[in-house]
């Protein structure tokens, strides 16, 4: 019975993958000011989804690089910084962003529903790049100094593609 259930579930998933175009799953979240944001609001643009939390050191190292990309590459690049801090820590998110002077949109994924879709293991930081067609173009877990160069190269190529 168990093996049948597992086989059936995996079979269903694989059959989906046969026609999959690696489409980025749409989502709706509130930002730190209560405004509703949908992924589909940014259709036609290159979107970076950066999952982080206030307690995550490598996330804090990566965020200044994302800020530079956000301000330096024009309006065709959108950085959606998605805080996965749980409900208890929600009051800390906006003060942290303000203390760093970041200007990219910051969304609150308090129930980890969106990161659960893109990264079920919920490790941080986790970065997803969505191309202009809404497809997943790049997925990376973790951050080490220097990783931002590879990410920027990928983003530049996607911005150049029309």
């Amino acid at each position: 019975m168990f093996r049948t259930m597992v086989a059936a579930t995996l079979g269903l998933l694989w059959s989906v993958s046969a026609f999959a175009a690696d489409k980025a799953a749409d989502f709706t979240l509130r930002d730190i000011n209560g405004k509703e944001v949908h992924l589909h609001d940014y259709a036609g643009k290159v979107v970076v989804l950066s999952f982080w939390a206030t307690w995550c050191g490598p996330c804090k190292e990566e965020m200044p690089h994302l800020q530079k990309m956000f301000t330096g590459k024009g309006g065709d690049l959108v950085v959606l910084s998605i805080s996965t801090d749980d409900a208890r820590s929600a009051s800390k998110v906006k003060p942290f962003i303000m203390s760093q002077g970041f200007t990219f949109p910051v969304l609150l994924d308090r129930e980890a529903s969106v990161i659960g879709t893109y990264n079920p293991s919920k490790t941080l930081p986790f970065t997803v790049v969505v191309d202009r067609q809404g497809n997943l173009a790049h997925v990376a877990s973790g951050y080490n100094p220097g990783d931002e160069k590879g990410l920027e190269t990928k983003i530049d190529a996607l911005l150049a593609a029309h």
Partner: protein, 584 residues
């Protein structure tokens, strides 16, 4: 073990180019995505134990293999997902003179396991969801948190290996300015631990408590966002797949919570948040404060943040009374259903301060001031927390109320490939002038003399990143020193530290040396280098951005660890392990 690589090959089929969507519907449109996350770990546990005859040292080593596969598919507005966990023990029988002396039990005798021998597998999570324009429906396992978590806060806590979901149905919808949500289900605790040994306690199923809740959030009423909620918990007393739903119609331990919150944005130059939860308990609920068994509980939390010039000020306050009583039956199951903000610095914590963290009668506050000296680069900060803990039961070291003061200061610097995250703090727990028992005169970290009513804790953390030629060096160090006043549990001062030194080539390869040190006589482990010194080495390789392989050899100490308001006594480790985690 090879089948999941086949899945990877299937899932990594080249994507088909699509035209840019012309509408929101098209963006969510007919495309699909499939992802798999595979987490495989094999651990060799080294456990040398001395038998009653001192000349016999039994080597009770064993091997544990743990596997977690998470699969998820999204097609248009539909999503499905599952998580399958599996664990097996090997080399787990030990004979002395042909007599079996040890065989660890992985699964309790009356628990169903679909796999033979010392192995077990379970479909831990299943999820089907539909996302419409203004409505989202979810069937299966999901997580939920209302407001700041005081009434309901069930989420996966990766740090300390806790994963309890709500298995049932949930609907969320949007009506005008309101987000509405309703859920009902049973609590589904993970059966297979990913990081901790599964052989400590036989897998025996869980008591599936029932929970039902509703929540309404309203946005954009001038500067105000508002919310209200209600939650009912019916706690099952026996294990069983349908125990929670059976409990709905029975007289079982029950907690009812009602609450509301207001958020004001940019009022009087600050952002404000205030929330209150009120708890009602039936007679079957355990009462951690026996003299107040008939009292309702409550949890009030307030925060304010202001941003004058280069400064950011965050002030938080709390008053919790019998709020943690809702979790009173869950201690053996190692999770909590509701956790309000603790305001504690959880990185350096003891069994005593963990008691304050889950106190049933506490009030206090915390203020932090950040100075953006160089925006996005250099931010020093200072903070101070003060609590008045009136709870003297449970894990508390004190039998009288105590006052806790905890000042801290730190700095965050993030330059080009260089970063420093550092802080130091000092925590003082001062009991209300009643020496508990004799006050011995003995040497301590703070000098000789009679011990007082105060417990002191000095702690510091530093994480430094800097380039070394083409490599990146990372140093992490945390040190804590404890000086105890007179208390019934811990009287020996101690120092402990955890350090790691890493050399990394981008994210591709990293080599790390870990070293733990503790003089705590109550620690449950012994060092592998010296009695108080633990060493380990880890090699990490990332063949692809979302594919990590790690090999670890050595030991680390046991100890208490708190994350997200939840504390666990985590066992140490001595041995070797190899793990592979891939998302594709």
């Amino acid at each position: 073990m090879g089948w999941w690589w086949c899945a990877a090959a299937l899932a990594q089929a080249p994507a088909t180019a699509e035209e840019a969507p012309a509408s929101p519907e098209a963006a969510a449109g007919p495309g699909a995505s499939v992802s798999f996350t595979e987490d495989l770990e094999v651990r060799y546990w080294r456990l040398d134990e001395r038998l009653p005859d001192p000349s016999d040292v039994a080597v009770l080593d064993y091997v544990e293999q743990v596997n977690r596969l998470v699969a998820r598919a999204d097609v248009g507005r539909w999503g499905i997902g599952t998580q399958v966990d599996q664990v097996a023990l090997f080399f787990n029988r030990f004979y002395l003179d042909d007599v079996l002396v040890v065989e660890r039990e992985l699964v309790a005798p009356d628990t169903f396991s679909p796999l033979p021998g010392q192995s077990y597998a379970n479909v831990e999570k299943v999820l089907v969801q539909y996302s419409g324009d203004d409505i989202k429906l979810q069937l299966g396992d999901g997580y939920a948190a209302f407001a700041r978590g005081g009434a309901l806060n069930l989420n996966r806590n990766v740090d300390i290996d806790i994963d309890t979901s709500i298995q049932g149905a949930r609907a969320t919808g949007q009506v005008g300015r309101f987000d509405l949500s309703g859920l009902i289900g049973q609590l589904n605790r993970q059966q297979v631990y990913q990081d901790n040994p599964n052989a400590l306690n036989p897998i025996s199923g869980d008591r599936r408590h029932a929970v039902a809740g509703v929540r309404a959030d309203g946005y954009g009423f001038g500067p105000a966002n508002i919310g209200a909620h209600g939650v009912v918990y019916k706690f099952a007393t026996e294990p069983g797949l349908g125990a929670g739903f059976s409990a709905l119609s029975e007289t079982t331990p029950t907690t009812v919570v009602g609450g509301g919150n207001v958020e004001l944005m940019g009022v009087l130059g600050a952002d404000w948040y205030g929330g209150v939860d009120v708890f009602g308990f039936n007679d079957a609920m355990p009462a951690p404060l026996p003299d107040a068994a008939d009292d309702p509980g409550y949890a009030a939390y307030l925060s304010a943040s202001a941003y004058p010039g280069p400064f950011v000020l965050l002030a938080e306050a709390k008053r919790y009374y019998q709020a943690d009583r809702v979790n009173a039956l869950l201690t053996p199951e190692l999770y909590e259903v509701a956790i309000a903000p603790t305001l504690e610095y959880e990185r350096a914590i003891t069994e005593d301060s963990a008691g304050a963290l889950n106190s049933n009668d506490i009030w206090g506050g915390r203020i932090q001031l950040d100075w953006s000296a160089i925006p996005a680069t250099l931010t020093p900060y200072v903070a101070v927390a003060v609590f008045r803990d009136l709870d003297t039961g449970a894990l508390h070291f004190n039998d009288v109320p105590e006052t806790i003061a905890h000042p801290m200061m730190g700095v965050q610097y993030t330059g080009d490939h260089r970063s420093v995250l550092a802080n130091v703090g000092f925590r003082s727990d001062e009991r209300d002038g009643s020496i508990q028992g004799e006050a011995p005169e003995e040497p301590s970290l703070w000098g000789d003399g009679p011990r007082s009513d105060r417990d002191h804790q000095l702690h510091g953390d530093v994480a430094v990143d800097f380039p070394v030629s083409v490599l990146q060096a990372k140093i992490n160090a945390a040190i804590e020193a404890y000086h105890w006043g007179v208390n019934p549990l811990q009287q020996t001062d101690y120092i402990e530290s955890e350090t790691s030194w890493t050399l990394a080539y981008r994210s591709d390869v990293a080599l790390t040396w870990f070293m733990d040190y503790t003089t705590n006589p109550l620690v449950a482990t012994t060092g592998n280098l010296q009695e108080q010194l633990y060493g380990a080495v880890e090699l990490q390789v990332k063949p692809a951005p979302a594919f990590t392989i790690k090999g670890f050899y050595g030991a680390y100490k046991a100890g208490i660890r708190c994350s997200g308001g939840q504390c666990r006594l985590l066992p140490g480790f001595d041995g070797a392990r190899i793990s592979a985690v891939a998302t594709f």
